[in-house]
Structure formats: structure tokens, C-alpha cells
């Protein structure tokens, strides 16, 4: 039980550090630690497949992409102009109001039951694969098309626009 609260504290601490760190590279490194705590949350919930996917896709691929772009653009310096204190204050108040609204809505609900894992195999690769390839086969294929179009779009956007090449059309 106390494991959850310790990990939750670490999640909140490092996500606060992500948005308040001056250097963007430090932000990315804190974000990696935050996602690692999320992986531990998934392990506590016995969602093995999501833990592995979170570890590989988020910490391995997406954050490396972030670091790559940051270092390629040579932005690892503290040159970011900060917003005025009033805008920052307004942003923090706005987010705080959202949090208060959400917490108030939770408080109005009935007393919550503990989260009990009923089926140990719920988050296993076998069980999720069976669901994914039976009920969600069409969304799975559509998401592959989404990834393909994202790849084409990223290549198209990031290539340098020089002088117009001789088009074949």
C-alpha cells in the first residue's frame, strides 16, 4: 500500500520538475523519470503488457526523439525567454482551478472501493492479444495506416525545402 503512495509522490514531484526546470534537456530527463514511475504504476496494477510498452515506446522511442530534436536544434542552453510573471500566475491559477474542480467532483461521489485485481491474467500479453485481434482488429489496422501516414508526413515536413526539384509530373 505504501509503495503506491511513495511512487505517486515521485510521479508528482518529477512532473513538477518537468515544467519548472529551466533547461529543456533537464525537462526531458525528468520526463524520463516520470514515465519510469508510470511504468512502476503499471507493474503494481499487474498490467504487464502496458508496462513493457510504456517502457519501450515512451522511454525508449519518444523521449529519445525529444532529446534528439533538442540537441539537433542546439537548444540546450538557458536562452528561453520567460513569460511575464502575470501570465505565469494566471496559468498556475487556471490549472489550480481545474484541479480544484476535478477534486471537488471526486469528493461528491460515493465512498470509493479499493482497486482489487480480480483476474491475475487481466493485463497479460496473451489476454490483451486475444482481445486486440478479435474485437479491435479493425482499429488495429487503421492505427497502422495512421502510423504510416504520420511517417510520410514527418518526412515531408522535415525535409529541407530548397529550390523546387524537377517534378516528374
Amino acid at each position: 500500500m505504501s509503495v503506491f503512495y511513495f511512487i505517486a509522490f515521485l510521479s508528482i514531484l518529477f512532473s513538477l520538475l518537468v515544467i519548472f526546470a529551466k533547461n529543456p534537456v533537464h525537462s526531458v530527463l525528468y520526463l524520463i523519470i516520470t514515465f519510469f514511475t508510470f511504468t512502476i504504476h503499471y507493474i503494481i496494477l499487474n498490467a504487464q503488457f502496458l508496462a513493457v510498452v510504456n517502457f519501450i515506446v515512451y522511454m525508449g522511442a519518444i523521449l529519445v526523439l525529444f532529446l534528439f530534436v533538442l540537441m539537433m536544434l542546439n537548444l540546450n542552453k538557458d536562452a528561453e525567454p520567460t513569460k511575464s510573471i502575470y501570465v505565469k500566475l494566471a496559468g498556475i491559477i487556471g490549472g489550480g482551478v481545474l484541479l480544484v474542480t476535478l477534486v471537488g467532483a471526486i469528493k461528491l461521489t460515493a465512498k470509493s472501493n479499493p482497486v482489487v485485481l480480480q483476474d491475475v491474467n487481466l493485463g497479460s500479453v496473451q489476454n490483451l492479444g486475444r482481445v486486440l485481434f478479435n474485437e479491435f482488429l479493425l482499429p488495429f489496422e487503421v492505427s497502422s495506416i495512421l502510423l504510416l501516414s504520420a511517417m510520410v508526413g514527418a518526412v515531408l515536413l522535415a525535409t529541407k525545402e530548397g529550390k523546387p526539384k524537377a517534378t516528374t509530373v
Partner: protein, 109 residues
């Protein structure tokens, strides 16, 4: 192994919802107060992950594997979004030499 999960599983559902709400709000605050476009993207990632965690918790709570499949789809979507977003940021940086979101106000024309 099962006794470990039984020992861990006495956390009320509300505490998980509270954790996700806090992290989601931190993501919102990050979008509002930072000017670096990449940090704004990272805050969006924080929000996506808070939702992912909550979907997983509800999936375990209701003993329904569909929630975890949805998390898988959200992860695929986030990967596509980040690839496109970072490509746009690279393009903007090449054109304006800056990734300050306050400079990128040309779309209002």
C-alpha cells in the same frame, strides 16, 4: 507473486483518480506557462500519460481488458502525434530560428 499483488491492492480508487487529476493539471499548467514549444509538447505527453494511467486503473477496477487495449491505441496515437509535431517544430525552427510559441502567431492572419 499473487500475494504481492493482493498486499498492494488496498489503494482506494479515489486516490488513483486524484493522482491522475494532479498530473493532468500539472500538464495543463505546463502548457500555459512555458514558451518553449518542445516543453509544451512534453506537457501534452504528461496529460496523455495521466489519462493512460486512469484508463488502466479503471480497467483493473472493472476487470475489463478493453481499457488496456485503449491505452495501447493511445500510445500509438501519441507516437504519431509526436513525430508530426517535432517535424513541424524542426520546420518552424528552420524558418524563424526560434521555437518560442509567442512568436508563432502568424496563423491569426
Amino acid at each position: 507473486m499473487e500475494s504481492f499483488f493482493e498486499a498492494v491492492k488496498v489503494v482506494p480508487l479515489n486516490h488513483y483518480i486524484l493522482l491522475s487529476a494532479i498530473i493532468f493539471s500539472i500538464g495543463v499548467i505546463g502548457v500555459l506557462i512555458r514558451r518553449n514549444a518542445i516543453v509544451v509538447f512534453m506537457s501534452v505527453e504528461l496529460m496523455l500519460n495521466a489519462v493512460n494511467l486512469l484508463l488502466t486503473v479503471f480497467s483493473v477496477y472493472g476487470n475489463d481488458p478493453n481499457g488496456q487495449v485503449f491505452v495501447f491505441f493511445i500510445m500509438a496515437l501519441a507516437a504519431a502525434e509526436i513525430a508530426i509535431g517535432l517535424a513541424i517544430i524542426v520546420m518552424i525552427h528552420r524558418n524563424t530560428n526560434s521555437i518560442d510559441v509567442d512568436i508563432l502567431n502568424r496563423l491569426k492572419w
